[in-house]
């Protein structure tokens, strides 16, 4: 007896174009349609190809988003950190070469045209001026949202930090600076001396041989969900990382050596921070990969913010509160989650930090990255 069939869904005739846009977003470019006078203008170009140098001198091809105004450090992986004072009205001039792209300002919540998701607006052809005005200080990131499964993995992302709107902002990576945290006596802004970035990521080398549009569906405005237009030979559902990364510093899966400040002159101190007893460390943590990442610190910490929003701060975060994370207490982040931690060591020592990467299906541990907080 023939089995009944449960259909995949319906495409009402009047939604054919919407279905087509889902698969094949239109191109667009030029000025912002509703421009306002900016407080801050920044530029980013994508994509730029660079090689990531592994400790054994092998190279992995990466794609990054460039800061064209910084000839010295504008081409790095992860893409260069953007820092913006809270409340600034931003115009972000984004240029695209070699195909269309977008930038999504993850955690920032503007209109669809400024949100950088092709199927809800467009993919940038040439250039576009994104416009937004961040209202909460905290840790965010930005990334390309085209064929995101591949483009995000290839390195088209960077940290986006909204600093509190206090004198001195935006601050320099590494500290000192100020951040948003529950502190009624100081208008919910607190100082820190040293800043760490633990941006954990993984690389599947097989994926880094692919082209921009590989394994995408063919466009067909007449029948955007025609089964004949689906690619069937892709492997972007099959993530097998062989290189593990903390804030741009890589290790092959068989290399257990700790991540240190000596690894990379640009990112090293951000990964393996050093501070004096009595000083305050702010650690900004992002899962920029596709595994389940478990972080364990050998020192007490306080979780003060998640996803760019400071716990406990009214009005929107008044339903939460910061919480203590005793030394040795693991916590897990999945993709795109951010935690901001405050650490105030009272005495000298070297305190280990481990990042364990677990597969998102099997749950198997794939790698353990080790770094440390050095207190002198």
């Amino acid at each position: 007896m023939a089995l009944p069939v449960i259909p995949r869904g319906e495409m009402p005739p009047d939604e054919t174009l919407a279905f087509h846009k889902h698969v094949c977003p239109p191109d667009f470019g030029g000025p912002n349609p509703d421009p306002l006078n900016p407080d801050l203008i920044l530029s980013r170009n994508l994509l730029i190809s660079i090689d990531l140098l592994l400790p054994e001198n092998a190279r992995v091809p990466m794609w990054i988003i460039e800061d064209p105004d910084d000839p010295v450090n504008g081409r790095v992986f992860p893409s260069k950190t953007i820092r913006i004072p809270r409340g600034a009205l931003v115009n972000a001039l984004v240029g695209c070469e070699g195909g269309t792209h977008t930038i999504h300002w993850h955690g920032i919540e503007p209109t669809p045209m400024n949100d950088g998701v092709g199927k809800h607006s467009f993919e940038v052809d040439g250039n576009f001026v994104y416009q937004f005005q961040p209202r909460e200080a905290g840790t965010y990131f930005y990334h390309c949202h085209k064929n995101t499964v591949l483009h995000f993995e290839m390195g088209l992302y960077g940290l986006l930090i909204i600093d509190p709107d206090v004198p001195g902002a935006p601050f320099t990576d590494g500290g000192p600076g100020f951040c948003a945290a529950f502190s009624p006596a100081t208008n919910h802004v607190i100082p820190y001396d040293v800043e760490a970035f633990w941006v954990a990521d993984e690389i599947d080398s097989r994926w880094h041989t692919l082209g921009h549009d590989d394994f995408m569906q063919e466009c067909d405005p007449e029948n955007p969900v025609d089964p004949a237009n689906f690619t069937q030979d892709g492997f972007l559902n099959d993530f097998r990382p062989d290189i593990f990364v903390v804030t741009g510093i890589p290790r092959r899966v068989n290399n257990p050596s700790p991540f240190s400040a000596a690894d990379d002159p640009l990112f090293g101190p951000l990964v393996a921070p050093a501070l004096q007893a009595g000083q305050t460390l702010l650690a900004r943590i992002l899962n920029a990969g596709y595994t389940i990442q478990q972080f364990t610190l050998g020192i007490d910490a306080e979780v003060i913010a998640m996803d760019g929003h400071a716990l406990g701060v009214p009005p929107f975060q008044q339903y939460s509160s910061p919480f203590r994370l005793p030394a040795g207490t693991p916590f897990r982040l999945t993709t795109a989650m951010r935690h901001d931690l405050i650490i105030t060591p009272a005495s000298p020592g070297i305190f280990p930090v481990t990042i364990e990467y677990f597969h998102s299906v099997s749950g198997r541990r794939l790698f353990t990255a080790r770094t440390a907080i050095t207190v002198i």
């Binding site: 995408m216 099959d238 716990l311």
Partner: protein, 404 residues
Amino acid sequence: MKEIKRRDFLKLAGATLVLAACSRGGGGSTEDQSGDQSPTGQPGAVSFNFRITEALVEMIDGTLVYSWVFEDTASGQPVLPGPVIQAEEGELISLTIENGLRENHSFLVPSAPGSPDVVDFGMIAPGEKVTKSFTAPSAGTYLYFDPLNAPVNRVLGLHGAMVVLPKTGNTPYSVPTPAVQQLFNDLGTTDHFPKHALSPAGWQRDRFRIWLMSQVDPAFNALAQSGVIINPADMRDNFLPRYFTINGKSGAFSSHDHSVVLSGRIGQPMLVRILNAGLFTHSNHLHANHFYVTSVNNVVRENVFNIDSFTISPLDRVDWLVPYIRPPDIAGDPDTPLRELIPNELALVIGGDIGVPQSPLVFPMHCHVEQSQTAAGGNYPQGTVTHFEFLGDIDGVDFPNAGG
């Protein structure tokens, strides 16, 4: 008097999720042939009747995948996921499960960790029909599934959602924590959560969506179709999802399915009940609004985080309150109506003949573990994704094209 409430089917064209047909009131069940001693058809009881059967499920690329599914015997239609069981806390539920397949099956509804299961059917032999009665537990979001040969029977399709509504109160819970109670008290009554001009203040209890997430590796479904008893360790170690679904649908279909899409106006908060019946750990990300995590695995949260991405592990039940505030980082004066602040965006149609208007405002929710955005190994974004749409402004004026 026995009354079949046909209204209990969601009246949405192409809707993914069907509410289970139920009968309320007295009179004995005519289908209670089990050895179970539980009473059925009691006055005040609400009765559901499911059959475990098999079907071919069409994936987004047209591939037909053999699956084990539930069928609501009132409709005779197999569905994936199973029909939604909806009840009010304290109601007596009479549930009949018939095993129409060739191997043993079961039916389990877990509760909060450390608490007794809501109901456990034990083993149901092929051809057997078992009825159990149980009291609808504390209000919240529950996952039901076949726990035998775990995770095989569940992942092959035998799963569904159960929603329990509270008897009283303005939250989705029987016993909200102080933080959750305060959050719901503040909706529509405070400066930071202004209400939509034409809507009542507060969360409306029918403003919720269910996102039951799952994944399909057709290789295992093919084994089941061929009669092989699948080794659960083999599935746990080698499961490679090729299709990723919300309420059984993917990509463009889940993005346009009215039972999945978040639809509303600024100032109309929405609850989302998220469940994961599969084996893939998701990290769901909402654009345009940070959401509040109000309950995790039937424990109402004491510390209510306001975040934009959150882990949804296998078997998880997670509630989000989406405040439906105006996207807060839109450039310009937050008090200026959007029709005045972004008139050109609202009027724009991008892409000429194949363009879609930029109004109303539509954003995505997607899992950020981006393998889940694929189908058949690519075809981005045809996986775990849907729409989050704003049809109108806080002052009661809808955006252009919102009327459809």
